[in-house]
Amino acid sequence: MRVVIIGASFAGVAAAFEVRHIHPDAEILLLEKQDNLGYIPSGLHLYWDKKISDLDEARFVTEGQLDKHGIVYHLNATVQKVNTTQKIITYDQHDLSDQLSYDKLIIAAGSRQLSEKITGSAQESVLKYKRYDEAQAALIKVEESEHITIIGGGQVGVEAADLLTAMEKQVTLVESMDYVLFKYLDEDMIKPIEKNMIEKGVDLRMRQTVSSIEMEPDQKVTVCLGEGSVTSYAVIMGVNVRPHLPFLDETIKQHTDQTIAVDRYLRTSVEDVFAVGDCIQLSGPGEDRVYVPLINNAVRTGIVAAANLIEPSRTFKGSLRTIGTRVFGKYIASTGMTEAESLFTDRTVESHRQKVRLTSLADSDTVTLKYVYDAKTHELLGAQMISNANILEKINVLALAIQSKQTLEDLQQTDYFFNPAYSQMIATTNLIAWMDERADEDEN
């Protein structure tokens, strides 16, 4: 059996390893558009954060690991056409066109960070750095720029703003919504972050949509907004990513948003063709299908598709859109439904926000915790955390609780260790409402 996987990023590589694990004899072929393997899309952030000293260190997989598992990969291979009737893939490699047949096909072509609405966003001085070569170019450009404009206040944009501010760059951040990180946190949770951003000198432009980006003669770039404009030395695109699948043939059904339609087994409308990662919609926190392009989802869908190659055996459990990061001195984490997003569910939801101490010691840090639950059944649906201390792992506990449909009452009974130096009389993730500490005070 020959399994061809289009795309060797997280989803494709995870799928390849899982196929090898399940089918030791399968011939596995990865086709990768880029000329290098396994670059972590946020590598530049690791570099700016001094977590790595060279962009090359930002790799999640090495050629050696693939070789060891007998996974063949073609770099610089751009797929031009998929013919699902004849099961043939046409691709270009080093300016030559080649064809390849498959028995099973997994489309893991990922996404790209491009705007089709913002005129001028495709030009070189507008930085995107999901890919290794883009990151290298962005690194040089940012180093020589004093003032940088970031378009989009999502995770990429806010992290970049934080790191660039720390590098003493002047940063303007443009966001079309009322507040940053709106997909993950509710407005009442984000306030401390926005406060810190302003204190650190970030020029926040909320409720502003970018209409065009124009080059100025002196190497500067002007970002035109609904009202006014910003001129700086460089622009970083932090907008949402979207799949780019020009090679699909018409038999593979797509949704209006250009994602590939898949069933619970990640099968497309065509037999023996699967789609994973940023190419598909997933069952989201509200249990309806949404687009959640996160690496954790890419990896998990890759594994599930691989498991279903021969026959449908494993359904994809969906995404809770779990994230965790540190920005502007705060650790933030989120999983499941936010209160704002509960708009799209039929359920009646309630939420509770509280501040709890992390340990029993006098100098304990606190965490502000918000959880969203079904008003009737008390099933936990979502949670958000923000703290000066590293609480990131705790969100995984709550993600598991949501996935296993635990109620608040179940959680109150979950057995966690007690140690006064590391915990309080009740653990944070027990979600006990009366453990509210200094609720009216600011966390700082």
Binding site: K117, F182, G226, N240, T256, T259
Partner: protein, 489 residues
Amino acid sequence: MKIEHFLEKNEVREITIFNQLVLNGGTLSYGKMLNHLGVSKASLENDLSSIAVRIDGFDQKVQLQYDGQTIGLSMSDDLSLQQIYRLYLDQSIKLQIITFLFKHQEFSITQLTQKLAISESSLFRKIKELNSHLKEFGIKIRNGQMQGEELQIRYFYFQFYCYIEDKTTFLAEHPNDRLTQMIDAMEKFLNVTITPENRERLTIWLIISNARVTIIDKQAKRLRTQMKAYRKDPFFHKIQVFVLRYFSRYSIEVDEVESMIHFAFLLAFPVLTEPDFHEYRLLRDRHTPIASMDTLIAETIINHFKYRRLPYMLERDMSYHLTHIHTRLYFFQGDIEIYEYEGIIAKEKQIVGTNVVSFARTLLKTSTKTLADKTGENNSLLKMELLKYISLLVLITFKMASVIQVGIDLKMDGLYKETLGELLILKLKPIKGVKVEHYDPTKIYDLVLTNEEPKAQANYDDARIYILSEILSSFDMVNIQRIIQELNK
């Protein structure tokens, strides 16, 4: 644009034949029909045979009898003229071109000639004809695409699917689980109630919008300019937040134009209920073009009828309708004439008098001068909005007329009081817009009829008092009618 613009000349004549028969009680002589159509007898005979073939599918439910002298139409009770129109429209090539264009967004000439089984030249001719009617919408079919401002394109499709194409089939063809979710979420987020009728309208709009949301390079220059006055509008902001949040759930990039388009639609068409609109009205900036035009026109109406003021709820209702009219005039171009304009104007003139119609024309002149540079009697949008002004004026006149409360307070012996009172009520009742009853001191009246000079006006609050000279006399009746007319103004 008219419905008949989707039909061929002979089809329009056939439809007219049906129309004339319905208007004339089902029978009409050849002579009258020939006169109306302005064709030869042979041509009429042709049309009639063509009709006979077409209605064959109705399985005897529609029958046309003609003998060279008279033409007769009979239809079963469950069939209306609308279904006959539908029959013609379903076979319309022009209609199929628009439908195809909506579904595929783009077409090649070969693709379309094959699909419709017509020649290239005939396709070009039909597109040319369509374009001549699409002109008033500011859009055109060119290079296999619908071109023009995005708001106008969606608006045209909306009118098309509401009034030309079969709405029910259109709704059935588009599974609406996601739309239901979207509308429910919208209701929650905007904190409004969307009634079933409005929901259907909104569903059609959202099917069209969602089908076009991913189109790149939408034109919106005109809309962006128009929206400058609304950047800080609270309702626009809410729509913008909703649109961004909704589409952030999909791999769809939206810019502010998407929110602007929905803003214009939601205010121009009855989607919000009056109470929900009222909430917005309290918050909106009164100096924006539409709001200030609402005020100007409302004041002009009140002054024209010499009303001191309108009852609170009527004033709200008027403002609600005026905003729809003015939003359409401000943002939109073109319309589909779903009502026979000339016919309605003629009928309205008969019922409400020429004054109302000419006053409505004055209003339209005032509003279009400021809101939109749209001139020309043939502009369907202006025609339709004129009809709306007329309807609004008629509504106000009726509502204002109906509030005249008359109390009869006769000061005489019980039996006479009762009997004469009843006779007076009987006599006054036929006067339009008057409610007459025996005086009840706990109620408020506009007019009190009595036979003795009251000791103090205070007894009757602010009511006008008329002292009857001779109960049931024609002298009194004339005076009472005059007073009622005065009160009505």
